[in-house]
């Protein structure tokens, strides 16, 4: 009896960590964040999550059927894209615009590059960048969290007809005796009105009527679970938060009046969500350990620079997209040294490599300097 020999290329050892498994774990870790998001904003948040995710799944299915891309909805990656995209949008974002964002995220961000694993940019952020450029007013229209009656009625802007302008939330808020400013995010309040939010409010998102996304503390806990189970690399979030915190702290040290404290920088806006869930996307971040530090440091620095010195209140999205674009370059300059090569290189630099017994120096041989060859690889012509 002969055993069948299967011939295939490396790797030969297969672990249980398949793409589906990793993605499913990420979706599971996102579940508490989604639940808290729905608890904060009610019906509209649930509808937004559902609409964006369904749009992503539908687009993925469409391209899996018509194109030749790898992957399908069964690998859960489109689900992650949809959830992250919905979490990064305002909860009252019109549902049809959310569907457009989901379509663009998967179609332009992923399918056109060849499907899962081939995308250059984080798909969720591509979708968000598109709607940021297409609908700049709607994407800045936040509403306060923990409104009374959030489980029985939608935020008016989310139920706009497709292609039509969403209703203005200001009148709706006014009827609840809230001014329109209650809807501004902490970052926008700081940037345009000079109001700083407190630390505890930011960290837990539990104080009433603050227009914030999901709680940074919850995201950190869920991210820590993923990092402990090695489903994401802890270096990237650590580098992003460290670099952003350090930059903000240095600037705060220079001028404490003009710049807010580093704590505010870290826990406002989408920095935590971006650092933990978006920048760590495996296909778009460097694989080399040193590269991860460079990548994270670049994103953190850019985030603070965009927040302080541009017209936009938030810069995490563009910072991560620029980081994604720089990833191949970062990987190239941070290649680790293969085992054994480092020793040889060190010895060569020190000039202590042993000479071959039959070696004769140029002076000894009485030869003149050999003619310089322009093309190093060109074989020497032998007469």
């Amino acid at each position: 009896m002969t055993a069948t020999i299967e011939i295939r290329t490396a790797p030969h050892i297969r672990g249980p960590r398949t793409v589906e498994r990793i993605m499913r774990q990420v979706v599971l870790s996102l579940a508490p964040i989604c639940a808290f998001f729905v608890y904060q904003y009610g019906l509209s948040a649930a509808a937004s999550l559902l609409a964006v995710t369904l749009a992503c799944l539908g687009t993925e299915r469409l391209f899996a059927r018509t194109g030749s891309q790898s992957g399908d909805i069964s690998d859960w990656s489109a689900t992650i894209t949809g959830i992250l995209l919905a979490l990064s949008l305002p909860p009252g974002f019109p549902l049809w615009m959310g569907a457009v964002a989901g379509f663009v995220a998967v179609a332009l961000g992923k399918a056109l590059f060849g499907g899962i694993g081939f995308n250059v940019f984080n798909p969720a952020l591509v979708g968000r960048a598109f709607v940021q450029a297409a609908f700049p007013v709607s994407i800045a229209a936040y509403t306060p969290s923990f409104l009374p009656g959030r489980f029985t009625e939608f935020i008016p802007s989310s139920l706009a007809w497709p292609l039509m302008m969403p209703a203005d939330n200001a009148a709706w808020l006014h009827a609840m005796h809230l001014d329109a400013l209650a809807g501004a995010t902490p970052l926008a309040k700081w940037k345009f009105d000079g109001v700083l939010a407190g630390a505890g409010e930011l960290l837990t998102s539990l104080s009433g009527h603050m227009a914030v996304g999901p709680s940074p503390l919850l995201i950190l806990v869920c991210g820590a679970y993923l990092a402990l189970r090695r489903y994401l690399d802890w270096r990237i979030p650590a580098a992003i938060l460290g670099s952003a915190g350090l930059t903000a702290w240095i600037l705060f040290g220079f001028d404490a009046v003009r710049y807010p404290n580093p704590f505010f920088m870290l826990f406002s806006g989408g920095l935590i969500l971006g650092a933990v869930y978006m920048a760590t996307d495996m296909a778009t971040s460097p694989v080399t350990p040193r590269g991860m530090w460079v990548y994270g440091a670049l994103i953190g620095l850019l985030t603070v620079v965009i927040r302080y010195y541009s017209g936009l209140p938030e810069g995490v999205m563009y910072a991560i997209l620029i980081g994604n674009a720089a990833t191949p370059l970062i990987e190239r300059i941070t290649q680790p040294t293969p085992f054994g090569v480092g020793e040889a290189r060190k010895a060569r630099r020190a000039g202590t490599y042993p000479l071959h017994p039959s070696y004769i120096s140029r002076e000894e041989a009485g030869a003149s300097a050999p003619k310089k060859r322009i093309f190093r690889n060109k074989p020497k012509r032998t007469p």
Partner: protein, 213 residues
């Protein structure tokens, strides 16, 4: 259809479909991306280019045995520039608003590579009538290409088509569609649609598709 007619028809259709300047040859991208913010702009830009194309191809073809080979490009440019100047003044006289909207891109028809390419590749070695037929096809193909972009960008970017409102006053404009990235997105989407359609055609294997693209 006589063989001669069939040949003429084939020459004409070449520019519209097989060798479409926008979707197959991807030439003349500067006006394609810059002026297709609305359907009217796209149509007038296409017609202006078509006129210059036909007229200059005719003249180049007539003079093809007179022009010295060494200075032919300079001569073509002079011929093309003449007709561009005509178009420039005509548009200025007909509609000043359109002239302002198209801006420098009217004068830039001179350096549109489709026109110079046709003059060099076809008109300089063909009789006047076939040269004009070919130029008409190319111009029509270019106009169709611009219109395809302009229609989509105007509908999404302003909710209108040729200035007529389609969705009423509460339409939400997609700001990105009237910005330069919108031009790239729409062009890419059209290229995708054509590539997909070509691949779906019965009997078209992948090798042929890549050759066409």
């Amino acid at each position: 259809m006589t063989p001669a007619q069939a040949k003429n028809w084939d020459e004409f259709m070449e520019g519209i479909w097989r060798q479409n300047p926008v979707f197959v040859m991807v030439l003349g991208m500067c006006p394609t991306l810059a002026v297709t913010v609305s359907a009217v702009n796209a149509l007038s830009m296409g017609l202006a280019t078509t006129f210059v194309l036909i007229a200059s191809c005719f003249l180049v073809s007539v003079m093809r045995n007179v022009i010295p080979k060494e200075v032919r490009i300079a001569t073509y440019i002079v011929i093309i520039a003449t007709f561009v100047t005509v178009v420039d003044y005509v548009i200025q006289a007909v509609s000043l608003a359109l002239y302002d909207a198209l801006g420098a891109f009217i004068q830039l028809i001179v350096v549109n590579c489709i026109i110079l390419g046709r003059a060099e590749a076809h008109a300089s070695r063909a009789a006047p009538v076939p040269a004009m037929i070919n130029a008409t096809g190319m111009g029509a193909g270019f106009t169709i290409g611009l219109l395809a972009l302009g229609v989509v960008r105007e509908i999404l970017g302003a909710g209108t088509l040729f200035g007529i409102s389609l969705f009423g006053a509460s339409f939400q404009p997609w700001v990105i569609m009237v910005l330069p990235p919108g031009g790239f997105f729409v062009l890419g989407a059209w290229l995708l649609v054509f590539a997909w359609w070509e691949r779906r055609k019965p009997g078209a294997d992948v090798a042929e598709v890549t050759q066409h693209a």
